[in-house]
Symmetry: C2
Subunit: 430 residues, 2 copies
């Protein structure tokens, strides 16, 4: 009788889950990677899809494809609804169960609205391909509507783009919207001009890019303002509706509002029947296992890890990848009969953010870069970290094209348009 | 007082409308191009988006962008609901009106189900970017579901793809699905193999590619069958439901059905209050104007034109472009005070269709090509007719990549998936 192999279930095909699966390529185990989506998404460039610089398929790849050469992994596109820690089963939405000996939960985070879920309808966040194309549609439709709007106040609200949250995503979105607006408006619209565009970046804290060195925050603030972006700091958002956003004693009338302020972990705590922190994350043991459940590991944006210096491990892609590789290491040790539970040590590589065309800031700790040199380093770093040769070539070319011509290729408005020229009897596909 | 310029309204930014606008670039007129979408779509390659070879933004471009250098054109993204031929107004959905002196209607066609609109839900057609990504999603989700299906009959239905209609679109879809299936399945799925895939092409007539030379039809039929595609001819479809399609005395259980059989013109006849033909098209005068309405022209898939040889002008891109340029010519003559109404003469360039990897047929009339040489000619012809330099570069590279590696880049399943890892309280964006 064949000996049953050790079964490892990894839930989530983001940076953490994928890194864990890949680092287990030589492991003598049956690995199942479950994701409700068929693709791995390179989230750091998602804002470029939202602003029409890249198409979705340039930053997303089928997980099956990425793992096609790894024979010990099975990929399952399925939605999980819970974990039975007694039976050691992952419960799937269709009623079936996937048994595990070891479980890695890497299901990531979603945007969260600090208890104001009603804001989501007016201020979408940016986590998925659909989020990005929805925001792209909103941005481009606002310009189209402004072109036809005669009323000055309504026209101004249509041309005002408010971004809430001045972390890297908010800063990058703000800069990219200015670029998109200028590239799209010049010569292509009749009643609106590039300088009609108004971008307001709203931050509750006292500085932009709060995780960066204060000197880089100051530099970024100046660079943003030089680009014409209005930066509002020190006031928390108090309400968002279809017409605009209020923060403190201020109000901005904006028909397009983008949420880049907060995230919450996926409901792993509920699945495991344990207590999560305020953002839903799970406080893990030093080896990244769940206290009391040594064969379950939690990594990436669902894990809360405090480093030796007292600071939390940030919710960034390199941290998730390192954690994925760490868990693979622990599992390989255990499969080899070693009992050592290595503690995870996060290596901070640095923080990067672009501020529109030809400007960026990079905080490598001791080395700090800003301006055009940081922008080039940022570009090369991102191309280097992309997962596929094809993508590296195509994104390099896409960026080069935009850099040389200013033309953004992906300015498509799809879905959610009223159908016109269809015969009345035909059904509607939106 | 400035003299008011002649106002030309063009409705539709497809091949016909765009060609008309471009051919009027030196006209001393105020031109408005209205489309309910913001983009021009290169429909001949839409099946490649549906089968994940290209991303949507590789074959669609903002109309504003394409006309950015033409100062006498204003582009309006709007939905039209009618034409007031007395007041000479195009009526828009928002209640406003766009006045015209001359009107060009080029609103194209939609798939039509021969009075069985209930079939659309089960057998989507391929006309828009959304149609293509919806079909792509269906194809890829069927493979994912088959991977998890234990019941052999249901598994077989999931792996069966039925295409209705064996014109160029149907033939190209069938070939591309085989390619997509093979490229996606090999090494990437555990329970399904490439030869499990079943593609059935259903044609009511007696041969595939009925508009081509019979010898090329025969060749295509053999080539399709050699690829493993089942071709069923001579039986009309009698019913389509969620589980399959019936035609004559036969039935195919298929969970994915694609409609490539019929189109109907957009409701131009209704807007003008005149009678259309059975497919809703308008029989136009030799100069492409509407009989009795000499300042209104109808071109492309909404026009019915019988050539001197008694054959109708086909509903293909070159015909629409030629008609657009012809109308521009007539309008320029009229603006110059000439009264001549040139009759339109269609120049048939040829018919082309691919039959999967490295095989195609081309009917140039006297010259007929088939096999790999036709495939290369087909590729170069399509790259030549693309509207933008950037696109030419990127599509050439995309195709080269697929040709060399077999990897299709755009295998993303987006929209319409059940959300999993979101906090329960958050809204759902699909």
């Amino acid at each position: 009788m064949a000996v049953r192999k050790h079964r490892i279930v990894i839930v989530g095909g983001g940076f953490g889950g994928l890194a864990a699966a890949k680092a287990l390529r030589h492991a003598d185990a049956d690995i199942v990677l479950i994701d409700r989506r068929n693709h791995h998404l390179f989230q750091p460039l998602l804002y470029q899809v939202a602003t029409a610089a890249l198409g979705p398929s340039e930053i997303a790849w089928p997980i099956r494809h990425l793992l096609r050469k790894q024979s010990n992994v099975r990929v399952l596109m399925a939605t999980i609804v819970g974990v039975d820690t007694d039976k050691q089963d992952v419960l799937l939405e269709d009623g079936s169960a996937e048994p595990y000996d070891s479980l890695v939960l890497a299901t990531g985070a979603q945007h969260a609205y600090f208890g104001h879920d009603e804001w989501e309808a007016f201020a979408p966040g940016l986590k998925t391909v659909e989020d990005a194309t929805a925001i792209r549609r909103k941005l481009l439709l606002a310009l189209e509507a402004a072109e036809r709007e005669a009323d000055p106040a309504r026209r101004r609200a249509l041309l005002t783009f408010a971004i809430i949250g001045a972390g890297p995503t908010g800063v990058e979105m703000a800069g990219a919207i200015v670029e998109l607006g200028h590239a799209s408006i010049r010569g292509q619209f009749n009643t609106i001009a590039p300088h009609d565009l108004r971008v307001v970046l709203i931050e509750g804290g006292e500085r932009v890019l709060p995780n960066f060195d204060p000197e880089l925050s100051r530099y970024t603030l100046e660079a943003l303002r030089r680009t014409g972006i209005e930066v509002e700091m020190g006031r928390m958002v108090s309400s968002i509706d279809a017409d605009g956003v209020s923060f403190g004693d201020r109000r901005v009338d904006a028909r397009t509002i983008i949420w880049a302020a907060g995230v919450a972990a996926s409901p792993v705590a509920r699945w495991l029947g344990i207590e999560g922190d305020r953002a839903g994350r799970i406080r893990v043991a030093p080896d990244l296992s769940v206290p009391g459940l040594p064969n379950i590991f939690v990594i990436g944006d669902v894990a809360s890890i405090i480093q030796a210096n007292g600071r939390p491990v940030p919710g960034v892609a390199p941290a998730a990848k390192q954690a994925g590789r760490h868990v693979a290491h622990v599992l390989r040790d255990r499969l080899a009969g070693k009992d050592a539970s290595l503690p995870f040590r996060y290596q901070h590589a640095g923080d990067l953010a672009t501020i529109g065309r030809s400007s960026a800031v990079i905080d490598f700790g001791r080395v700090k870069l800003k301006g055009w040199i940081a922008w080039w380093v940022w570009g090369f770093a991102h191309i280097y970290f992309l997962v596929e040769t094809r993508t590296r070539i195509f994104i390099t070319l896409s960026w080069l094209w935009i850099y040389l011509t200013g033309q953004r290729s992906a300015r498509l408005i799809t879905h959610g348009m009223v159908p016109e020229n269809k015969p009345l009897e035909a059904g509607d596909e939106t």
